[in-house]
């Protein structure tokens, strides 16, 4: 099949040919970028949390009245929760992974450092890691004697005395954070600074997702040996067997209510709900983008189909003449297929340029990464495929034109 007669035929239909090329180019550019956006969202949604996702319940509580002897009451609350049948671990946590709130801290390796080395989510709470079910990859867990109460810690930090008893001196960090701070080195025993207070790394966990703003580094988290009190922003965390969650939640809520009627349950969710809620915008957007991609490809396919049908109808006589002169059905079929392939190729080349331009704009506007080059050949193959599919029916119809048409007048 020679290309030249096809090109000269297309020259007769410059406007329509260009419109098809432009259409394919635009579809190619948008679909490449949309698929890239979808993959970004899916990647975010698939991020490892590092915790026992199917076993956790979180109850957010606020006290309406200040309680005397709040510290003892917390221990009683925790004991009451532990007594609920089916409960394996409990903790009062200052932050829950992906629960939407933030408690972040700037991490410095040297107290004199001007800008922080990184920003990490700060986890606190007695028995927190055992409750969350993080996987320890080096070092040890935080020991009970290392724990301090949150209010004492605040006071001690305000005092600025590094030796003070109130300040915690150990912490556990995530692998990602260790790798960022001390690439390729053993993080155990190293120190980071809060203000001027040095704190030693005693353990490393595989993963622990942040509370919210994942853009700061989704897996940069540290855990301090600090006991929390009941207040807004803190949550009771309960670990139980996946199948017991609903029952344990009911029993736990009843236990908390029974202990203190002047208490508001702000939220009670299992962690899978928390995760789903955290990513609900991403899921909705990804769904919308998939819808747009499908619609774009469909419209493009319909457009190609419509134009090809028109061309076939218009060239019926010419086709008949060719058939009468000895062209086979296969020749006619291939003619239209090649024609479509040429148009699609031109569109794809133009589309690559557009795709790159749109990506540059999005990078500038939404701080997206660069479009990986692998998307371009995939996008090209997709559009070639769609073009061939759309043109198949009209091309077959053209191939079916009998040579006798040539002898008839129009």
């Amino acid at each position: 099949m020679t290309v030249r007669p096809i090109v000269s035929a297309l020259r007769k239909h410059k406007i329509t040919a260009w419109l098809v090329i432009l259409e394919i180019a635009l579809t190619c550019a948008i679909v490449c970028n949309a698929v890239f956006l979808i993959s970004q969202r899916l990647q975010a949604m698939a991020m490892p949390s590092g915790i026992a996702e199917q076993e956790l319940l979180a109850i957010d509580v606020a006290n309406l009245r200040e309680e005397p002897d709040a510290k003892a009451r917390v221990q009683e609350d925790l004991a009451a929760l532990r007594a609920v049948p089916g409960v394996r671990q409990v903790s009062l946590a200052g932050l829950v992974p992906l629960a939407g709130s933030e408690f972040n801290t700037e991490v410095k390796l040297d107290p004199a450092q001007k800008t922080a080395s990184l920003n990490a989510a700060m986890y606190t709470g007695e028995n927190l890691l055992a409750t969350l079910g993080t996987r320890l990859v080096a070092g040890r867990e935080l020991q009970p004697e290392e724990f301090r109460y949150a209010d004492e810690v605040s006071k001690a930090f305000a005092g600025g005395d590094a030796q003070e008893q109130g300040v915690p001196h150990t912490l556990v960090i995530t692998q990602a954070m260790a790798e960022q701070l001390w690439p390729g080195q053993n993080p155990l025993g190293r120190q980071i600074y809060f203000r001027s207070v040095p704190i030693r790394v005693v353990g490393v966990v595989a993963h622990l997702a942040r509370g919210s703003n994942l853009a700061l580094g989704g897996d940069y988290s540290l855990v301090l040996p600090i006991r929390e009190l009941v207040k807004e922003g803190n949550s009771f965390l309960i670990r139980t067997a996946p199948q017991d969650r609903a029952r344990v939640m009911q029993a736990a809520l009843a236990a908390l209510k029974a202990r203190n009627p002047h208490r508001v349950i702000l939220a009670s969710r299992n962690w899978e709900q928390i995760r789903a809620e955290f990513f609900q915008n991403d899921r909705a957007m990804a769904g919308l983008l998939v819808g747009i991609c499908v619609a774009l490809l469909l419209v493009t396919a319909l457009g190609i189909f419509g134009l090809a049908s028109f061309w076939v109808a218009q060239r019926r006589r010419t086709i008949g003449v060719r058939r009468a002169l000895g062209a086979t059905r296969g020749d006619i079929l291939h003619y239209f297929q090649t024609e479509n392939f040429l148009l699609a190729s031109a569109g794809i080349v133009l589309g690559m340029v557009f795709a790159y331009g749109i990506n540059l704009f999005l990078m500038h506007r939404y701080e997206l990464p660069r479009l990986p080059l692998a998307y371009l050949p995939v996008g090209a193959a997709l559009l070639w495929g769609i073009g061939q599919l759309a043109v198949l029916a009209p091309a077959l119809r053209a191939a079916a034109v009998p040579p006798v048409v040539a002898t008839r007048s129009v």
Binding site: I15, E232, N281, I292, F310, Q314
Partner: protein
């Protein structure tokens, strides 16, 4: 002539129905997607309080005190100030109008407790209802003397008045709120800004404006145990309870809004604010360099991402989709017109000018556009319904209205005309003699 061309167009539309339905459907899908995205975007753009918020500015500065809880999430200062700072700024009176405010959520009832409702409202220092242009149905707002004497007075909205007292005119009645009883001195028309721009930190996730059902002077409120929704940023030894608490003496929890007219006044106030904050920093009250600055209402909403970025991305996507549909339709139209070269040739030979041929074809594409618009109507409605089912913060903005309908028809007509230009131009350019020969 117009009517004749329209009749011709209708007749032609009936001739090739499969082609016509392809054209119309493609156009309808494009227009519907675009209209749905535009509806959401327009609901969420423009002035949050038309005619008023353009003159409103909020003061932001890093007012952390040395003993404050160290929450280092903010690289950019927030707008929360202590009551003393808020009062100082409002009392200075350097702007045309100024008031401090905080979002509150309270159980408001009549004193015998037979009727009550949990409603959102604003605690305010200064003439806030007046500054926000809140319309009064009955009564009046509070006087400076009432504010300074901490008189327990409150403004409620007509809906709440109806619910509690069965009448709009509740002036002079008492309502129970917190631990005290407050006298209703004014009833306002139900009020909510188009979008949330006041106290955005306490209204995270709500894009559309909160319906504020009461306005209460802040000090009288605190006296009665009526506090803000959350305590804001507090010092380390502040009370542990932070939800709906009135123990906010050690917290930064109010934001100050100012009405300023003209760039000179804004620049002047900016200097004043900077000086005020710097003086506090120099005196050792503010721990960090204050970085004091004014934000206008829309700037503040942008800085706090009240409207999600996805909304704009959606509009761009929908626009690109419509463009694609238009290119598609233009291609099909060109084909459709070319098929009728012979008719055009005869008309041209009989004396129709190029302009007339052009107009005739444009009227036809305009008509196709309008039909597309009518089909796009249920599609748009359907699209907005789908968005409303999504768990996204802007879902509430996906509301179908009469304006949308008008916009839809206009857009589809415009689209029909635009896509017709190229094919119509091409067909009217062909010389008549050649066309007859071809025929």
């Amino acid at each position: 002539m117009f009517g004749y061309y329209l009749r011709l167009a209708l007749r032609r539309c009936r001739q090739n129905l499969p082609m016509l339905s392809l054209l119309v459907l493609t156009m309808a899908i494009g227009v519907a997607a675009c209209m749905a995205a535009l509806t959401i975007a327009t609901t969420l753009s423009g002035e949050p309080l038309p005619g008023i918020s353009a003159h409103l500015y909020v003061a932001s500065m890093d007012a952390h005190e040395p003993g404050d809880r160290d929450n280092e999430r903010q690289a950019v200062p927030d707008s929360y100030l202590r009551l003393s700072d808020a009062k100082a700024l409002v009392d200075t009176g350097r702007a045309r109008q100024q008031a401090a405010l905080a979002q509150s959520l309270q159980q408001v009832g009549n004193p015998d407790g037979r009727q009550s409702d949990q409603v959102m409202g604003l605690m305010a220092y200064g003439p806030l209802p007046d500054m926000l242009g809140v319309a009064l149905r009955h009564g009046r707002s509070w006087m400076p003397a009432e504010q300074s004497s901490r008189a327990p007075v409150v403004l409620i909205d007509a809906d709440l008045a109806q619910k509690l007292f069965g009448t709009d005119d509740a002036v002079g009645r008492n309502v129970a709120m917190g631990k005290h009883v407050y006298r209703v001195i004014g009833v306002i028309a139900p009020w909510s800004p188009r979008m949330q721009f006041l106290d955005v930190s306490r209204n995270l996730g709500s894009v559309l404006g909160q319906n504020e059902q009461f306005f209460v002077p802040v000090e009288a409120a605190l006296d009665g145990g009526v506090g803000p929704l959350t305590s804001g940023e507090c010092s380390k030894d502040a009370a542990v309870v932070s939800f709906q608490s009135a123990e906010v003496g050690q917290c930064r929890w109010l934001e100050v809004w100012l009405a300023l007219d003209g760039t000179a006044a804004v620049a002047d106030y900016q200097r004043f604010l900077f000086g005020y904050a710097q003086a506090q920093h120099d005196a050792g009250r503010f721990a960090h360099p204050p970085q004091a600055r004014l934000y206008d209402a829309s700037g503040w909403m942008t800085a706090n991402h009240v409207v999600p970025d996805d909304v704009r991305l959606n509009v761009m996507l929908a626009g690109a989709f419509l463009l694609l549909c238009m290119i598609n339709v233009a291609g099909l139209l060109a084909a459709r017109f070319l098929r009728r070269q012979a008719d055009v040739a005869i008309r041209r030979a009989l004396g129709a000018s190029r302009r007339q041929v052009f107009a005739q074809h444009l009227i036809e594409t305009g008509l196709i556009g309008l039909i597309g618009g009518l089909i796009a109507l249920p599609l748009t409605w359907c699209g907005l319904w789908i968005v409303r089912q999504q768990p996204v913060s802007y879902a509430v903005a996906a509301d179908f209205s009469g304006m949308v309908f008008a916009g839809l028809l206009l857009l589809s007509l415009a689209v029909g005309l635009v896509v017709g230009i190229l094919p119509a131009w091409r067909i009217c350019r062909l010389p008549p003699a050649l066309q007859i020969k071809q025929a």
